[in-house]
Symmetry: C2
Subunit: 223 residues, 2 copies
């Protein structure tokens, strides 16, 4: 992890302002942090000291269960907050956050700004929207995971993540995200190939029948 200093910090701030998110000046004690791929932005179980706002990059939220299973709860992208749960709640089990690409965030120290943040309608309004989307998404994932087999959820995931007709997510990551065993994921993927929805090409899968996948994914959506 690198904390931007001096000129590097100054120029970054100049080119990437988040002043519009607050109704008070926040730059004085704000830091800029850069994380490398696979680096942990927050360690599971350890309360962070900052509210982060992701400027650039991608990350993943993980939680480890007592039985050793790991859940990839969600992905984090640019313009998302990290650490907002700890800002708001004194008691909270902190999830682990791992960068999946180089990630640059603004880091706003709690001890300097908490009171002002919690009193700033502009900031709170955006955070509220962010949380409402997060809650909705979680509720959707939750109910879908119980109501539909992997076949449907995987089809949806493939369509969401495929780039130019090519699906190439790491199986291990997908298992944690969709909450199924590696074995079963491969099994369903093989079925998709057998049915010619996908065609395996080395480590990638090429989408051959969009409409079939859409059909499978479609039943997840209400309306």
């Amino acid at each position: 992890m690198e904390v931007y200093k001096g000129e590097k910090k100054r120029s970054f701030l100049e080119n990437h302002s988040i002043a519009h998110l607050f109704s008070f000046p926040i730059e004085a004690f704000m830091e800029v942090h850069e994380y490398q791929r696979d680096e942990w932005i927050i360690n599971e179980g350890m309360r962070p000291d900052f509210l982060f706002y992701v400027m650039e990059g991608k990350a993943k939220i993980y939680v480890t269960h007592q039985n050793g299973k790991v859940s990839l709860i969600n992905f984090i992208n640019a313009n998302d907050y990290i650490g907002e749960m700890e800002l708001l709640n004194d008691v909270y089990y902190t999830k682990g956050i791992q960068a999946s690409t180089k990630t640059i965030c603004f880091a706003i120290p709690f001890h300097r700004y908490r009171p002002q943040l919690l009193d700033d309608a502009k900031f709170l309004r955006e955070l509220t929207k962010f949380l409402s989307v997060k809650a909705t998404l979680m509720a959707a994932k939750y109910s879908q995971s119980l109501a539909f087999p992997l076949e449907n959820r995987l089809a949806d995931f493939i369509l969401q993540t495929a780039d130019e007709g090519i699906y190439k997510e790491k199986h291990v990551t997908v298992c944690d995200y969709l909450g199924v065993s590696y074995r079963h994921l491969l099994h369903v993927l093989t079925q998709f190939c057998d049915k010619n929805y996908l065609q395996k090409d080395g480590r990638n899968y090429q989408i051959k029948q969009y409409h079939s996948l859409c059909e499978l994914a479609g039943v997840l959506k209400n309306k």
Copy 2:
């Protein structure tokens, strides 16, 4: 559904103020609604016109999937908001909300108060906390549902809902909530009885071995 009027409304407002939740006067256009058990406070798919604040009673959030399965996403209790998603998001699939006991809510009309609500730090701060808890809870339920079999989740649910050592939830409701089939729920319940964790007594189940259930439920929790 009954909308309190005149003296009934006045006296209710007098005894149950929520003025402390806002930094501006809200009573002018606020209504008081009373719903009977099983009545729908919000119909699935239909945007409500009010932000509700539950004063008294209990309700359930439901969503119906295309395959006909119904998920009971969560329970709502006193001091919870309803309709906050619609207040914040212009596009949102509205879930159904059904009263499970007589429920009295304050109903704040969007068209009168939306701008002021979205600009009120006091209100937003509380709503933000409410949503953060909701999102956290959903994330927990989601990851648990994928990481643990019914046995563990049911043990947790029994401990949470049992009253004086007696568990007496309706099976049908529990199936929707835990996302399993009726058949399977009964099967695991029977196992619990076979192992003498529970003892069936008519339609109720008496907890016989707290520690065994605690142990099963315990593995859900991190730390």
